[in-house]
Subunit: 488 residues, 2 copies
């Protein structure tokens, strides 16, 4: 029978063979990832080959895949590797990837309506909410990550704290200036969120931190008092459970108490650290988080769900829904058919088209169980402690910040070098380590001191990887500092 052209395979058997081969190649690649360089950049030749005009006529799936194998796979970021400790990324899992495939093959969009994707997302949100100790009545929605989660949470805060209807009248109608407070170590997405919401970065007060890089709560209280005296309306505090730089955790219980007293919104950015609540050994570190009015967490970080996967919770469902819905509650869709159901996820955030990202999370939690995630948290925190002990056993590698979670900041310091020379040495050392393919640390600057930074958020990392890294860092550091000294 003649079939009109579609985008389906002309030959299903060929496509089937190709997908099976791609699966085998990918599993081979991941199973043997330890034997490979963590990261290698694509050369000019590869980039030139990549840069082509869009083909006019079909090239076929086989050719597209072959190009992926030669031009793309070897030059990816590398965060599935056990010694990728830069930035703060998870390592991914096979079942997570399978979840993406299965979701895309059916291709549901999960805005709402009467189909299983809505129920699966609801279930996944319930599971995550319980993991982080948020109450039953809280609402939530899956998002691409904490940047969008923070926007949603702060939009709800704006909606609740405003004396005017901001959805109708905008923030131009506010009678007084408003203020949000967060520490200087908070993630840049907090400021970006307030900018997007039309409040402006001027309303963000950046509070100094203690020597543990956590928000100085005395200073916070004084800033609130000063603002009130100046007729500024203090709207909210953004606490951080796990800063990007050092993994510091704010004193969330004290922040909760301040917000309660001052009648302010309390948001916790738990992109990194919310999941610590799952560990009975360590949940005391994030105590107070459960008192927040809103909370973001990332599942593509410590929980290893493939990108993108995050969620945001709001303590009172009505606050959350009223901020975004365009359907009054009394007009909720109760009909039969695909539009039935009174829980529309698009009522809880800015997206209408929404992929079925709940599936990879649902499969992951079922495969692994929550206790295994708790053990993973404990193990990564233990690796960070072991690593800092290992640093202490060397003469040259010096710890620069307290290790609270799974992030360690340190530098190579052979002694006798100027601050500038030390910064320069460590800058070169990070680059050389990344270029060597042995490991990917990243870097930050603490009190003017450039330092290396490793975040143990990869489930594949083992104790032996720490030794490999320390040996390489010592060897390279020695070589660079010898060269540096003779060159001076």
């Amino acid at each position: 029978m003649w079939k009109p052209e579609s985008l389906d395979p002309e030959n299903w058997d060929d496509m089937r063979k190709l997908v099976h081969q791609a699966v085998d190649d990918s599993l081979d690649y991941l199973e043997s990832i330890r034997d490979r360089a963590v990261w290698q950049p694509a050369g000019e030749d590869v980039l030139q080959q990549l840069k082509t005009r869009a083909p006019l006529e079909p090239q076929g799936a086989r050719r597209a895949y072959d190009d992926f194998v030669s031009l793309i796979r070897p030059y990816q970021l590398g965060n599935s590797h056990p010694r990728f400790w830069g930035w703060y990324l998870g390592g991914g899992t096979v079942i997570g990837a399978l979840g993406e495939f299965l979701a895309a093959m059916e291709n549901s969009s999960v805005a709402g309506g009467n189909h299983i994707g809505v129920h699966v997302e609801k279930q996944v949100l319930d599971w995550c909410r319980q993991m982080v100790g948020f109450p039953d009545e809280a609402s939530g929605v899956l998002v691409s990550g904490a940047s969008i989660g923070n926007i949603i949470a702060l939009a709800v805060a704006r909606h609740v704290m405003s004396e005017v209807d901001v959805r109708a009248h905008g923030v131009a109608g506010l009678a007084r200036p408003v203020a949000f407070y967060t520490s200087v170590e908070a993630h840049s997405s907090v400021q970006r969120a307030l900018e997007l919401l039309g409040l402006g970065s001027c309303c963000l007060r950046k509070v100094r931190v203690t020597e543990r890089y956590a928000i100085d709560t005395d200073e916070l209280q004084q800033m609130i008092d000063r603002d009130r005296a100046a007729d500024v309306h203090p709207w909210g505090v953004i606490g951080t459970a796990g800063t990007t730089n050092t993994g510091a955790v704010d004193d969330l219980a004290t922040l909760a108490a301040i917000c309660r007293k001052e009648k302010m919104w309390f948001h916790v950015d738990g992109a990194i650290g919310a999941i610590v609540a799952l560990s009975s050994a360590h949940r005391h570190v994030v105590r107070g988080m459960e008192e927040a009015d809103s909370l973001t967490m990332d599942l593509h970080k410590w929980m290893q769900v493939p990108f993108e996967a995050g969620c945001v919770f709001v303590k009172r469902r009505a606050d959350h829904r009223d901020t975004f819905t365009t359907t009054p509650e009394y007009l909720e869709r109760h009909e039969r058919g695909i539009s039935a159901g009174d829980f529309w996820l698009s009522d809880y955030g800015p997206q209408l088209s929404r992929g079925f990202r709940a599936l990879k999370i649902w499969l992951s939690i079922k495969e692994q169980g929550t206790a295994r995630y708790a053990r993973l948290v404990d193990r990564c925190m233990s690796l960070a402690q072991q690593f800092s002990i290992r640093l202490g056993e060397t003469a040259e590698l010096k710890l620069l910040a307290p290790v609270v979670l799974n992030i360690v900041c340190f530098r190579y310091d052979p002694g006798g070098m100027s601050p500038d020379a030390l910064n320069e040495l460590n800058r070169e050392l990070v680059m050389r380590l990344q270029e060597s393919g042995v490991a990917v640390p990243s870097y930050t600057t603490l009190d003017g001191r450039f330092c290396m930074r490793v975040a143990f958020a990869n489930h594949r990392t083992r104790a032996e990887d720490l030794d490999i890294f320390v040996d390489a860092a010592l060897k390279l550091g020695e070589k660079l500092s010898r060269f540096g000294r003779t060159a001076e």
Copy 2:
């Protein structure tokens, strides 16, 4: 050798078998999708089985997959089916799903830096930009869909049109009220975007439409004049290339001319229709789109890329970047290592964690070629025309709106019924058709008339599917109206 616990498979061979089986099951399912009901809701028993506590200990990948097969796969939305014509969704493709799998197995986050994901996204954006006729100097970024794309575009408009630095001072510092204009048929995400941006829905003027459901440009000009006279600052016009209700396309060339004359921002929401520019036979319909200052398009709709996939383009790169970046241009990252490179995608939108969604798009365009997408556009538009002709051949099915693109609005009207009874009949008819599993039309209301609505955006739809639908609609309509008449 003893291996510490990770989230990797304990037995890679078992996992390999499972993934291969899942691939076969999925391909079998998709290849035979015509033989299946388009949609069936999950019963209470399924929902009860789904509703469980998160497992504490690992259940294993096999059990998680088996639960997917029995509890999830059969009850998804169904938009991969050739007779799913509700809402406006693409059907997905095998290579798109493979792209999701491959991206997740490596698990890159594509915020920026020196890795191939950044280059692939850049390439994909170039291809899409060329498809819709936007100039070389335009910037772009992949997004989850047009709702987020519209937020980004209108954030840029706000940044450019404001006389104060809105990022620093917020919109409270604006000297005068501002206004955006769009038609009453525009997508709800336009209003939601302005609400999120703190401008408030009060600044959105909804302009009436012509009998073709396109914006009335005379009325628009008068509203702008009235606003200027009232000291309101007209900031921008949002034109629509393909409305959700009827597929109407605004007169974009006239909107462009008005915006040029009035020095206003011109944004086009091309979620549905931007891709029509690819068809030499039909690109005249969206003429003027290329003159826009910003443009959103969805790739998970007519281009069949699995959810989520959309993009937004901005004519002047600096406008786009200045709206979102937190890094001044002179401080751009030029170092070596993973952070190198001066093109950071996170500088062009609110996300920092960003999945490698470019891969599925890259693979798709390479597999299919742009000419095939053009033929798909032509074929879907032709199906819509054939369908409206087919309606004309029946006595009872009446067309309710002009067919401009691939959307047809119509209703069953056997004659002699009151407006209310007709609405009721058609409401019941849509539900029955969905419940029958034969097809999924959706519905809308045009000038108080409830009607059925089909959107031919699925690449699997064939001419024979139209006959199957019309036969079922006539049979069910006849049955319902007979019952209705006897019951009256």
